[in-house]
């Protein structure tokens, strides 16, 4: 990662301060693989013409969502932008329903009306899934406003990218979140690219977390490639936000192994193959494998067995999703309103 030294972030070794929790490590390993393999199949769906539009995969960034979301409470709202498959899967959304949504099928989470960028699950307190860069951050602060208004101790986890950190509405809601003591954690998933524009070309100060200083808000930058490291920080920061009902501004450094979206077919416009290879040396899945091997937590055979299970699961997910019927034509009018149908016809 060419900007990592400039950004002052050195690759951190896996956290060794805690005794390895074998069940947890296996859980992380399996869940990261589930996202990785799911995303491979979602790209396959796009190439096969089973998915259209825009599709943004989470490949390479798995440790961020998983490490973080492993520490939240069930009643905590979660909201993110359009790179949302990983968050949805880890929150417990049905993988087949996610894939069916990506394929625009009736079995999808929104019956095929949202698509890849717009996954939602009320059951899992997952509030999407948004396509206007930066726009949903205001909603995230609103979720925190609403739960606090209702007297809940919920903390809202609001994910967005480094590109969205430049959207004007962010600064408005940072101000209000701090002014009104709202329990929201702003989580920048800094994968170093706003689409195809590198961090140093889009941000006046590449340490994005420092923007919180003007709003009297605590902030820091952490490594997002090591799932254990993310979890360690998440526990501390979430606990603090819940106890103090204060916002927190966090920048998690990770890296996007894939293009911006499925339609991004020339990555040479913004990075070299060498840079990508360097980044992949810190592949979050490989880091965890190394950690587990070094600490004799899991054998290579066991890892391969889990990989095979996940492959099998996602292959089935792909097949089942593709078998889900297309939405009925009359569905085009449903759910525009809660209580009425819009005027029909062209």
């Amino acid at each position: 990662m060419s900007t990592s030294s400039k950004a002052g972030k050195q690759p951190a070794p896996p956290a060794k301060t805690e005794t390895p929790d074998i069940a947890l490590l296996e859980h992380f390993y399996r869940e990261m693989l589930r996202i990785r393999v799911f995303e491979r199949f979602s790209e396959q769906a796009y190439r096969a013409g089973l998915a259209g539009g825009y599709l943004h995969v989470y490949t390479g960034m798995e440790a961020t969502a998983i490490g973080w979301l492993s520490c939240i409470e069930k009643h905590d709202p979660v909201i993110t932008a359009y790179r949302d498959h990983g968050h949805a899967l880890y929150l417990g959304c049905d993988a087949t329903a996610c894939m069916a949504e990506i394929m625009g099928r009736s079995g999808g989470m929104s019956g095929g009306k949202g698509g890849s960028m717009h996954l939602y699950s009320a059951e899992h307190n997952f509030y999407g899934g948004w396509g206007i860069v930066g726009g949903h951050i205001a909603l995230g602060v609103g979720l925190a406003f609403g739960t606090k208004y209702q007297g809940s101790d919920a903390v809202t986890h609001c994910f967005f990218g480094d590109g969205a950190a430049n959207a004007g509405v962010l600064f408005e809601v940072m101000n209000m979140a701090s002014l009104w003591d709202l329990p929201v954690i702003f989580i920048i998933e800094n994968n170093e690219f706003a689409m195809g524009t590198r961090l140093e070309y889009h941000a006046a100060d590449t340490e994005l977390h420092k923007r919180a200083e003007g709003f009297n808000m605590e902030h820091e930058r952490i490594d997002g490639m090591d799932v254990l490291e993310v979890r360690r920080h998440a526990r501390r920061i979430i606990d603090r936000a819940r106890k103090t009902s204060r916002p927190y501004f966090l920048e998690i450094m990770n890296y996007r192994f894939a293009g911006h979206g499925a339609a991004d077919n020339d990555q040479s416009l913004y990075r070299t193959p060498e840079e990508l290879e360097r980044a992949k040396k810190r592949d979050p899945i490989a880091l965890l494998e190394n950690y587990m091997r070094d600490n004799n937590v899991m054998t290579s055979e066991k890892m391969e067995a889990i990989q095979a299970e996940v492959e099998e699961e996602m292959e089935q997910v792909y097949t089942d999703a593709a078998a889900s019927p297309k939405p009925e034509p009359h569905e085009v009018y449903s759910d525009v309103y809660t209580d009425m149908t819009p005027e029909k016809g062209h």
Partner: protein, 325 residues
């Protein structure tokens, strides 16, 4: 029934809704300590305190976005726009977010949100503070858009808006705040959306308008009456949903129609009404449907020029006579 102003009726209804439902609260710029720019929220901060009447920074997109998020978890926010012209800043939140959530989530989330405030020309507020934007919003599936013209309607329709589970744009022409009328004493009185009010029955021409233009239509009807013409006046009051049935019934009876709106003439909501009448009532028409809208210019500051832009009784009367000839 008690006689009050439009402003007081609106305030009274909001007070009753805040008292009725804990999830209802108001937020906006200068609505609390400052008592509201048009004094609609006068006294509410003292009565309900900060939790229910929240002063915000001047951050329209942020305010609306926060209100949407709060609505998604079950609150029922009322956002006051100091003027609807400022809602242009929040349009991304209103159109890309509020209007889309229910659909994109396949019905999983709803947004019981009211965005209300003065829309239209006041008195020399010039080009940036005089917009009539209801036509823009009524273009957007997922929103409901209303423009009440009387004390009874503003009282009954704000209650309907607050109790609605969908985002509602509630526009109040600043020229109406001082209009007097009656409100019901029944606290659960509501006026349904999607239902025109026939303000005056008549047989010779249908005068169709909403918000302040509904009053202008009444003035025109009185003038026409002196000329022996019996005009019917339709107050549309709800743009989305739109009650075409009442409009069509009227036109089929009178065979002539004039549509009036304060918004820019070109592409305004009145054009939609005209188009529908011609599509669905063509065989009943004895003359082309007349249309009077605001001049297609930014609102000028000079009072004489401003008055040229806003359709008035004489503009409407001249056009009505043309439709009748």
């Amino acid at each position: 029934m008690a006689s009050v102003t439009y402003r007081d009726a609106l305030r009274q209804a909001m007070i009753e809704e805040i008292e009725r439902d804990e999830s209802v609260f108001l937020m906006g710029e200068d609505i609390g300590r400052y008592q509201g720019t048009f004094r609609v929220t006068q006294g509410l901060f003292e009565q309900f305190k900060q939790k229910r009447v929240l002063d915000t920074p001047i951050s329209e997109p942020g305010i609306v976005g926060i209100a949407i998020g709060a609505a998604m978890v079950g609150c029922r926010p009322i956002v006051e726009m100091m003027t609807m012209s400022f809602s242009i800043l929040a349009m991304d939140q209103i159109i890309n977010h509020a209007a889309k959530i229910h659909y994109m989530s396949g019905g999983q989330f709803k947004v019981p949100l009211v965005i209300r405030g003065p829309g239209g020309a006041a008195n020399q507020l010039s080009a940036q503070h005089s917009h009539s934007l209801e036509g823009w919003y009524a273009h957007v599936p997922g929103l409901k858009v209303v423009a009440p013209s009387t004390t009874e309607d503003v009282y009954g329709m704000i209650k309907t808006a607050i109790r609605d589970d969908n985002p509602v744009i509630f526009t109040e022409n600043p020229g109406l705040y001082g209009v007097k009328g009656e409100i019901p004493t029944e606290k659960d009185f509501t006026v349904p959306f999607g239902k025109c009010a026939v303000r005056k029955e008549g047989a010779d021409i249908s005068l169709i308008g909403y918000s302040r233009m509904a009053h202008v239509c009444m003035e025109i009807a009185e003038e026409l009456d002196k000329e022996g013409v019996d005009a019917e006046v339709i107050d549309v009051r709800s743009l989305l949903p739109l009650d075409t049935e009442t409009i069509y019934d009227s036109v089929k009876k009178t065979n002539r129609a004039l549509v009036m709106y304060e918004d820019w003439r070109s592409g305004g909501f009145g054009a939609e009404i005209v188009a529908r009448i011609q599509e669905d009532c063509f065989d009943f028409l004895d003359a082309p449907v007349g249309r009077i809208g605001g001049l297609n210019v930014p609102m000028p500051y000079a009072r004489n020029l401003e008055l040229l832009c806003i359709p008035n009784k004489d503009d409407g009367l001249a056009k009505a006579r043309e439709v009748l000839s």
